[in-house]
């Protein structure tokens, strides 16, 4: 377990936690804003919804400046608690944390194509994702995307299938399929004048489903029903089930490698990323551990990762010979130091 791997897993888990926490905070701030929070906590005590709300409330009140004394009683500072609870909103598709608004470039491009407009708010919310992708490449896929995380985990189920003597297939369609999906989706978006790719893009679906499930949970509690619930999930969740079963039985990481229109767009944007995995071929012993480790199915051993590498660092962690490491390279760096390339070319002669 390398340090990078642990950090990446931590970030992925945090994204999932926040995805579920943000709608809870939305409901919490509603009860605080309506001055109903104490009544709700009392009425719901001992139930799951009440427990979740109580945990959020206790955490909120522990934050600096969230409590004040009035008439000899310690109370919530309503304005301050509201400010804390409204700090973050959204999901993996589009989120705001404090003053920073971040929208998936796929959503932004779709909105622009469908409406034929370039609103400033949308451009502003593209700043952070664009900068990160230009610099680091397709890191949304490896560090943020909750479905990428889920598929990394279900990858391991393929081993379990083998144990059950069901040999999972591994179809390998062309990698350029995803660029076709992206192009076709954008044409459809322009024709229908509605952003359609967001309806099949897994992180967008997961975000909406998580949101709906949490809201259904609290809606039920508000109606006085606290039993086990299955509300909120729509049949869009079936698409995720289909993706996962296809992944386990037919083609490893097929969505991320061959189909995902978001991954295609991130790949295109991160084409010239200066931060990338570099191979020191004199150290490489051709053991091919990195090839097996690469979630995107690329070949780090040949240093031919191109724009589809998502800089997850699994190959770096898998290498026992220290032949792979993160470094600065790529077209941008080449432009910055042409002299070095000339030096290199001269030394080769």
């Amino acid at each position: 377990m390398s340090k990078l791997h642990v950090t990446r897993r931590t970030v992925q888990v945090l994204v999932v936690v926040f995805m579920l926490l943000i709608p809870v905070l939305a409901r919490y701030q509603n009860y605080v804003a309506a001055r109903e929070i104490d009544r709700v906590l009392e009425r719901w005590s001992g139930t799951a919804a009440g427990g979740v709300l109580q945990a959020v409330d206790t955490t909120m009140r522990a934050l600096p400046g969230a409590e004040k004394e009035r008439a000899g009683r310690v109370q919530r500072d309503r304005a301050q608690v509201l400010e804390y609870a409204q700090l973050a909103r959204g999901g993996p598709w589009s989120a705001t944390v404090g003053p920073v608004s971040m929208t998936d470039p796929l959503g932004a491009v779709e909105s622009m194509v469908a409406s034929r407009a370039l609103p400033w708010v949308l451009l502003a919310s593209l700043l952070v994702p664009l900068a990160a992708t230009l610099l680091l490449g397709r890191i949304f896929c490896s560090w943020i995307c909750p479905v990428g995380f889920l598929l990394e985990l279900t990858d391991k189920m393929r081993g379990a299938m083998r144990f059950l003597e069901i040999r999972p297939r591994d179809l390998k369609p062309s990698r350029t399929t995803k660029y076709g999906v992206l192009a076709a989706g954008l044409v459809l978006t322009a024709v229908l004048a509605i952003p359609v790719l967001g309806y099949v893009y897994p992180p967008a679906i997961v975000g909406r489903e998580a949101h709906d499930v949490v809201f259904a949970f609290f809606d039920r509690a508000e109606m006085g029903r606290f039993g086990p619930w299955a509300g909120g999930l729509s049949w869009m969740a079936l698409l995720l089930v289909a993706i996962i079963s296809f992944e386990v039985l037919v083609s490893r990481r097929w969505w991320c490698r061959y189909v995902c229109p978001g991954g295609a767009l991130y790949s295109l944007i991160g084409w010239a990323r200066p931060v990338r995995v570099k191979l020191q071929s004199d150290r490489c012993t051709q053991c091919a551990l990195c090839v097996a480790a690469c979630p995107e199915g690329l070949n780090p051993m040949k240093n031919q990762m191109g724009m589809e590498c998502d800089n997850c660092g699994e190959c770096v962690a898998s290498c026992g010979d220290d032949a792979l490491a993160f470094g600065f390279d790529g077209p941008l760096i080449d432009v910055l130091r042409p002299s070095e390339r000339e030096v290199h070319a001269e030394s080769k002669q």
Partner: protein, 213 residues
């Protein structure tokens, strides 16, 4: 049961493969086909009255093009009145709406700045948004039909004496030019089955008879 040349393990393997493929393809297709316009709306969204959108929403074809179907406006909403259409609503899926009879907009105006796509224009004055117009049903309203004296809508109206004024026996009179369509009157109307005052908009799901887009 036995099929020549196909043992049990092989059979289940083929079955799993086939169903996996068909399921995945079908899911994708249905996702796209489900976008057909004019699909069924969830219960309670009254097609005849039009959809109430959050304050500052663009006009309908533009709104549907601009909105990226994230959840940010619903998360920001202080009143938690903003709901999101499910997939059964076709091309409206994921877009925000308000059901004033359940929970009306309190015009906190947090949704406008929360919108990353510009589908909601940020509003600064509570008098300015135009979500719809309240319409009184004089046969149902107790103050109008003479079965009682109420005045709840007038009391709860954030633009009291401007958007709603009172006539004889507290009978409400809506002034269209001032009403912003927040729907608080509809939420607190004492006539519960079908409210005696309802927010009407010109936003109708696309494809319905005679409806503007």
């Amino acid at each position: 049961m036995s099929v020549p040349g196909l043992d049990r393990r092989e059979f289940f393997r083929v079955l799993a493969l086939r169903s996996g493929k068909i399921g995945a393809g079908g899911g994708l297709l249905y996702g796209l086909l489900g976008l057909r316009p004019g699909s069924a709306l969830p219960a309670g969204v009254r097609g005849d009255l039009g959809i109430v959108r959050p304050p500052g929403a663009l006009e309908e074809p533009d709104f549907l093009a601009r909105c990226i179907r994230c959840t940010e406006c619903a998360d920001a909403c202080e009143a938690q009145c903003i709901r999101l259409f499910g997939p059964e609503a076709g091309d409206l899926q994921g877009t925000p709406y308000i059901l004033p009879a359940d929970k009306a907009c309190t015009i906190c105006l947090a949704c406008g700045p929360a919108c990353p796509s510009g589908a909601l224009t940020p509003q600064t004055k509570r008098e300015e948004p135009r979500m719809g117009v309240a319409v009184v049903d004089e046969r149902l309203c107790v103050s109008h039909n003479g079965t009682g004296v109420c005045g709840a809508c007038h009391t709860v109206c954030p633009l009291r004496n401007r958007a709603i004024t009172q006539d004889y026996r507290n009978a409400p009179v809506v002034h269209e030019e001032a009403c912003i369509g927040c729907g608080l009157c509809e939420e607190f109307c004492i006539v519960r089955d079908r409210r005696a005052i309802r927010v009407e908009t010109r936003r109708r799901p696309r494809g319905e008879d005679g409806a503007p887009a």
